[in-house]
Amino acid sequence: MDRRHFIRKAGLAAAGAFAAPYLLPGGRLFASSGLRKVNHVVFLLFAGGVRNLESVQFNDGNLMPNMLSGGGTISPDILPAIDFLPPGPLSQPLQNYGTLFRQFRYKEGPTGHYNGHTVAVTGQYVSTDLNIREAPCNPTVFEYYRKHNSPQQTALNSWWVANTLGPYPALNYSSDPGYGPAYGANFISPNFLISQDGFDTLGDPSSFSTAEAAAIRNIRKFANGVFNKSYTDSGQGIVNTESEAQQLQQFISDLYGKAQSGQYINPWGVGTSMNSDMYNVMFAEEIIQQFKPELLVVNMQDVDIGHFDFSQYANNLRKADWAAAHLWSIIQSTPGMANDTVLVIAPEHGRNFSPNTSVDAYGRLALDHTAPTDGTSGDQMAREIFCLIVGPPTVVKQGFVVNSVEGESTEIVPVIANMLGFDNNIPGSAGLKSYNQCDLAQAFY
C-alpha cells in the first residue's frame, strides 16, 4: 500500500467512525451528532402553588430540608400541624447535587394551575385563562421530543404522570396539527388508576390461551381489514404499538398485584403521612424502574390546600420535599438512569403576598394565587418561584446558587430539549426561547 492509499483509507475509516451511530453502554443507539448531555430527564412539577416565602426564603423555617440547605427550625405555631416524617433518603440536601435558582419567574399570564402546567410543558406563555377541556394549542415537550429526537422514540420513553384528573390528562399532547397524539406521551394518573375503583374495573381481566389469543388476533385483523378506518382516526389519544401495549398491560397488572399484596401500604415507611403527592411520585418511580424513560414529567398538587389552610399547606410542602428527595434516590439507584439523568424541579407558580380571609386552626391566614395578568400591578408574588436542577457532576454545577432574578418558566422546555440533544431540531417557528438565551443554561457545564 502506498502512502496515498494509506492516507485515503485512514481518512475514510475516520469519517466512517464519526458518521456511524454509536451503541452506548446503556444499549441506546443514536447518531453521534445528537450532542446529548444526558440520556434521561425527569421534570418534577412541584406544583399546587408554592410561594418563595415558604420555600427558598424560609419565612417559617426550613420546610424543605431534603431539598434546601439552611433555614432553621419550623415556626413553633404551625409545628403541631406538621406530620411526622422519618429522615430523608439523601445524605445531603438535593441542592448540593445541582444548581438552585432562588428567584425564578413565571412572568406572564394568569397564575392558575392549568395555565402554569401548560406553560411549563409547552415553553410558551398563555395570555388568557385556558379552556380546561382542551389540549394546549402549542406543542408540548413530549411532542418536541418524540418528533425531533433522533432516532424517534416511542411513547414508552415519554411519560406524563399527574396526581389529579380534571384538565391534566390533556397535557400529554397538543392540538397543533404538526404534532398531536402521534407524538404524545403516555399519560397516567395512578392515584385513580391504581385504586379500588380501578381494580374493580380493570383488575381482573379475562385471559386467553395462546391459541385463543392467536385466533383473536386473526379475527381482529380480518375485521380491521374490512373496516375502512383505524382506531387512530378517531382522535382518541395516543396509541402504543401492540407489543408496547402488551408491556403496558403487564405493567398495570403488576401494579394491581403489588397493591393487592399490600406493597403500597406504607411503602416509604412514613406511615399515615403518605399523601397523594407522595403516592404519585412513588408510581412515577415504578415507571422509572420499569421503563427507564428518557423523558418523564410528574407533578404534585397537595400544597394547594393553601387556599383554605396555611398550616396544612406547610405540612404538604414538607411532604413534597421528602418525595422529591425520594425520587432522586430512586433515579440514582436505577441502573441505566443513575448518573445519566437530570432532574428539574420547579413550581408552576407561587402564591399571593396578601392572604385571603380563611383562618386555620393555628391562626394562620390562607393564600390564593391571583397575580394580575399585566405582570406589574398589584400583588405579583404568585409569579415568584424557584427552580432546582440536579444531575451528574460532569453535567450540572454542584452546590451552585443563583440568588438574583434570573430564569423563567418558559426556559424549562428548551433546557430539556438541550439536555436530550434535540433542541436544534425544533424549528424556529415553534417560538421557543433559544437555549443560549436561557438563564437556566448557567446550571450546566
Binding site: F192, D197, A215, N224, K229, V239
Partner: protein
C-alpha cells in the same frame, strides 16, 4: 257502390276497436319487498365517545343499561390513562370476566353456525355480515377449535369498527 260496402263493413269494426281501446288502464304499483336497511361498516364515520363506548359495551354484554355507579367508575378509570385503546381493551377483558354476561355459550344456534355469525354481527356491529365475512367467520369456526363465542365477541368488540357508529 263497392266503396260504400267496404265502409259499411269496416265502420262497426272500427267502433268495436275504439271502444276496446278506451278500456281503463290498469294501475301497476311497483314496490320492493320489505327489507331491514342497515348501515354498512364503510359508512360508520362517527367515533363513539367514552361514555358511548362504555354504555354500549355494557349493554351488548349484559343486555341491561349500565348502572350509574359503574359508569362513573369506568369514566374515571378511562380518564386516568392516555392510551384509550389499551384501556378500552382492558375494560372489555374485565367485563368479559364478570358474572352475568350474555355471550352465547356456543358458536352456533341450534347447530346453525351462520345464524350465530349473523346474530353476532347484528348485535355488535348493528349490521349483517356480508358474504365474505360470513364465509371467513364460518371457516375460522370450522377449522379452529380454539375459537369460542367469547373469542369471537372479544375479537370483534376490540376491532376498529366497534369504536364507530
Amino acid at each position: 257502390m263497392k266503396a260504400f260496402r267496404i265502409i259499411n263493413f269496416f265502420t262497426p269494426l272500427l267502433l268495436v276497436l275504439m271502444l276496446a281501446s278506451c278500456e281503463k288502464e290498469k294501475d301497476y304499483i311497483y314496490e320492493v319487498n320489505p327489507v331491514n336497511v342497515q348501515q354498512g361498516g364503510s359508512t360508520k364515520n362517527n367515533a363513539k365517545s367514552t361514555v358511548e363506548f362504555v354504555t354500549i359495551a355494557w349493554a351488548d354484554l349484559f343486555g341491561t343499561q349500565i348502572p350509574q355507579q359503574e359508569l362513573v367508575k369506568l369514566n374515571t378509570v378511562y380518564s386516568a390513562f392516555g392510551d384509550k385503546k389499551l384501556i378500552e381493551d382492558r375494560i372489555l377483558l374485565n367485563l368479559l370476566n364478570k358474572p352475568g354476561i350474555q355471550v352465547p355459550a356456543a358458536t352456533n344456534v341450534n347447530g346453525d353456525t351462520l345464524k350465530f355469525i349473523q346474530n353476532t354481527y347484528k348485535k355488535l356491529y348493528n349490521r349483517s355480515p356480508d358474504a365474505f365475512e360470513q364465509y371467513y367467520m364460518k371457516e375460522q369456526i370450522r377449522l379452529n377449535t380454539a375459537i369460542s363465542a367469547t373469542v369471537i365477541w372479544y375479537a370483534l368488540m376490540s376491532a376498529d369498527e366497534y369504536r364507530y357508529y
